[in-house]
Subunit: 428 residues, 2 copies
C-alpha cells in the first residue's frame, strides 16, 4: 500500500470535534451580534478572476496569492485565484449589484480567505475573517464609524475575555499634523515608525525619525504626538500644546469627537483615543481602530478596522465610501488558546447519549430522543452492541449525560440521566 501523508497541509487549521465546537460557538456569537446590529450576510465565491483580485494589490499580496487552474482547461476560463480577503470581493459585489442594494449597505462576510504566507507557527494560510462593513453611495455619515466599532466590540464581548480596550485614531489628524510640520512628503515613513513604536524602545523610534532627516523640534513633536492618548478633551488639549494652532487638524478632530460622542451615547465603554494607532493598510482615510486585551498587550490587536473613502475606485467611477472592521478568528482562536483564555471545557457538543441495552429498546430510545430534540437538546442514540463500559466511555468523550434504557425503563417509562462528569443523576 502506498504510504500517504494524512496530516493537513502546513498552515491549515484542523480541529478535533470538541475544539471545533468551541470555534463554531465563537463564530456563531460573532455572527449573531452582527445580525442583531442589522448587518446582512453575503457570500462571495472563493474563486475570483485574478485581475479583479490584483487590481490594487501588489507586493506581498501578489506573491502570496493562490492561483487556481483546472487540469482540464477549457477556453472560457479566465485567470483565476483564491481571494485573500473579503474587501476586494465586496467591492466587486457592490459594483455588480449596486442597483439591488439598499444603501447604506450594512454587510457581513464570515468565511475563509487564503494567503500563501511563509509557514510559521500561529500563521495560517487558510483562515476565517469575520468582517462587518457599512457602504454608502456617494456619502456615508461619520456616525457609522462608531456603529462599526460598537458592533465589533459587542461581538468580542461574547468571548468573555479579560478587559478589552478599543484604541481609536483618525488618519486625517495625522495627515494634518504632518502637513503643519512640513513633513507630508515623509508621511509613509513616519506612519510606519509610529505603527511600530509600540514594539520598540522609545529611543529607537526617535532615532528612526532623526534618520529620516527630521530636526529636533520635529522629532519631539512627532514623538509627543504618537504618545498622545486619552479622552477627546485630553487629546485636543495635548495637540494644542504640541501644535499651537488646531486648524490643520480640525477636520480629523471633528470626526474623532463625533465618533467618541456616539460611542459614549451608545454605551460602548472602554474606548480611548490613541494616536499611535495607524493600521498598516493604506486604504484607510479617516477613523482607524484596534482592540487589545489590556493585560495582554503583547498579543497585539484582536480586531481592527477603519474608514475608507472609496471602496471600489478600481472598478467604477461611482463613489462608495465605507467603514468596516474585522475579527481574524482563526488566528485569534489559536492565540487565545495559547494564552488559556478560552474555556475549552464548554465544548461538549452533545447533551445526551441514549444507550438502549438491546434492539428491543430501540423504539423507546428513538421516542425519548425525539422528545429531547423537540426541547432543543442534542441527542445521540448509541446503536452498538458493545459492552456497556465501552459505550459509557464513548459517551463521556462527547456528551454531558448518558441515559441507559433497558426493559425496566421501557415498562416504567422512567428515564434516568447520569451526568458523565459528576456521576449525579436526574430523572428526565
Amino acid at each position: 500500500m502506498k504510504k500517504f501523508n494524512t496530516s493537513p497541509l502546513s498552515g491549515m487549521q484542523e480541529l478535533l470535534p470538541t475544539e471545533q465546537a468551541v470555534f463554531d460557538q465563537l463564530k456563531q456569537n460573532i455572527s449573531d451580534v452582527y445580525h442583531h446590529y442589522g448587518f446582512l450576510n453575503i457570500e462571495t465565491p472563493i474563486i475570483e478572476r485574478t485581475d479583479i483580485l490584483l487590481a490594487k494589490a501588489g507586493g506581498d499580496t501578489e506573491k502570496q496569492i493562490y492561483m487556481v487552474n483546472k487540469t482540464d482547461e477549457s477556453a472560457d476560463s479566465a485567470d483565476q485565484a483564491l481571494r485573500f480577503d473579503h474587501t476586494v470581493p465586496l467591492a466587486r459585489y457592490v459594483v455588480e449589484h449596486n442597483n439591488d442594494l439598499a444603501f447604506p449597505f450594512q454587510v457581513t462576510q464570515i468565511n475563509r480567505n487564503f494567503r500563501g504566507e511563509r509557514a510559521q507557527r500561529g500563521r495560517f494560510r487558510e483562515f476565517y475573517q469575520c468582517d462587518a462593513d457599512i457602504i454608502g453611495r456617494e456619502k456615508l455619515p461619520i456616525a457609522y464609524d462608531a456603529k462599526v466599532i460598537s458592533c465589533i466590540y459587542d461581538a468580542l464581548k461574547t468571548f468573555n475575555l479579560p478587559k478589552m480596550v478599543i484604541r481609536i485614531s483618525n488618519r486625517k489628524v495625522l495627515a494634518g499634523f504632518l502637513s503643519a510640520l512640513g513633513l507630508s512628503d515623509k508621511s509613509a515613513e513616519i506612519s510606519s515608525i509610529i505603527d511600530h513604536a509600540e514594539k520598540v524602545p522609545a529611543e529607537k523610534s526617535k532615532g528612526a525619525l532623526y534618520e529620516l532627516g527630521l530636526n529636533d523640534e520635529q522629532v519631539n513633536k512627532v514623538y509627543d504626538f504618537m504618545f498622545t492618548k486619552g479622552s477627546y478633551t485630553e487629546v485636543e488639549n495635548s495637540l494644542r500644546n504640541i501644535l499651537g494652532d488646531l486648524a490643520p487638524i480640525q477636520d480629523g478632530l471633528d470626526e474623532l469627537k463625533e465618533v467618541t460622542n456616539i460611542l459614549a451615547a451608545s454605551k460602548t465603554d472602554n474606548f480611548v483615543i490613541d494616536l499611535m494607532i495607524i493600521r498598516g493598510l493604506d486604504y484607510y482615510t479617516g477613523t482607524v481602530f484596534e482592540t487589545m486585551l489590556e493585560d495582554y498587550r503583547e498579543i497585539g490587536s484582536i480586531a481592527s478596522g477603519g474608514r475608507y473613502d472609496n471602496l471600489a475606485s478600481n472598478f467604477t467611477d461611482q463613489k462608495f465610501p465605507g467603514v468596516g472592521g474585522s475579527i481574524g478568528l482563526t488566528r485569534l482562536f489559536f492565540i487565545l488558546r495559547e494564552y488559556n483564555l478560552l474555556n475549552m471545557e464548554t465544548g461538549n457538543p452533545v447533551d445526551y447519549v441514549i444507550l438502549p441495552l438491546s434492539p428491543n429498546e430501540f423504539e423507546d430510545s428513538f421516542e425519548l430522543a425525539h422528545k429531547l430534540r423537540d426541547q432543543g437538546k442534542t441527542v445521540d442514540v448509541d446503536l452498538t452492541d458493545r459492552k456497556l463500559g465501552d459505550r459509557f466511555n464513548r459517551a463521556g468523550k462527547i456528551a454531558d449525560y448518558a441515559v441507559v434504557i433497558g426493559s425496566n425503563e421501557v415498562i416504567s417509562q422512567k428515564y434516568i440521566a447520569k451526568n458523565l462528569k459528576t456521576g449525579d443523576t436526574i430523572e428526565l
Copy 2:
C-alpha cells in the same frame, strides 16, 4: 480606467442579501437537525494534497479538479488542489485523528466543495454539500443506516416541501440477484441500465439488456427486479416470485428488513423499498437511498447516500466502515427556486430599522436598539440625514418594521413600530 468584468465567475453562486438570508436559513436548519441527532461538526481545509484527493478518483473527477499553486512557489509546498467532496478529506481526517475520536464517530461537514464542471445553467463549480456520516472502527451495526436516513429526512422536512418519499435499496440484494442469474460479470453495465431506467422508456431499458447479451428469461427477471418496490414484505414476496430461492440475496434482504424496521420504529414515514435505486458512485456496498419529491419526480434526487464498507482503504490498513448521506444545498436551492417551492418572502433579514430624526435622538435610538437586541431582534439604526421618504424606502427593502424617533418620542418614551408591508402600527 481599465474596464473590469465584475460578474462572479461562471458556475459560482452569488446571491443578493435577501436571497442569501433564505439560503442561510436552510443551511442552518440542516445544521440544527444534524446537531440534534448528535453529529459533531468538523471542518477540513479546502486545500488538500493532490495525491490524497486523487488516491482513488480518476476519470471525470481528475479532469474537474482545481489545481492550486502559489505565484511565489516555495520548496516545501506539495502538489495542492481544492477538495471536490467531503468524503476524501473525511477519510484522511479519520485516519489522521483516529486515536482522538470516539467511534462510532457521527460527523457532519457543511461547507463548499469545488469541481470545474462544464459551465451549464443550474450546474455549480463551487457548491455547498451538507454531509452527515457515521464511521465505525472495524464494524458498524446496520441500525446506523436507518439513523442517517432519519436524520437527512428530518433535515429536509424543515424545508416545508411537498410530499417527499425516501427510496431505499441495498447493493447486496442486486449483487446476489445478478450472481444467481449468472450475470455478475455484467454487474457494472446492468447497474448503469437500472440507474438510468427511470429516465428512459421501459422498452429502451429492455433493449439495452438484450444488447448486453442477456436471454429472454434474464431480461425479464432483471426487468421485474428493477421495478420491484413496496414494503419489505411486498418486496420479499416479489423477489421470491422472480427468483424462487431467496438464499443468494438473504444477506441484503436481512439488512433491508432491519433498516426499514428501525425506520418504522423511529417514526420516519414515507419510505419505500425501491430496487431501481443504485446510486452511481461505486463505493457504496450495502444500503443506498435517495429522496424525491413525489409530485416533482423530474427534479430527481434531492438527498442521497448509503453504506460503504471501508472509508479509508486507500490510506490505511485499518477498517472504518461507514454510512452517510448528503444534501447538495447549492443545487437544491437553485432548483427549488426554479420550481417556486421556496418561500423567498420570508427572507427579510432585519426586524426593525430605527429612524432617529436628528442626532439629538441617537442616544435614545441606541438604547431602544439595545433593548430590542437583548430580546433577540435584529435592529438597524439609520444614521443618515437623508429625507425621511428615502430612509423609509431603504428600510422597506431590508426590514419588517420601521420606528421613527423624534423629540416627541424621546419625551414620551413611547415608540411606535410601523409594519413596512401592511402599514399597521404597534407600540413597542
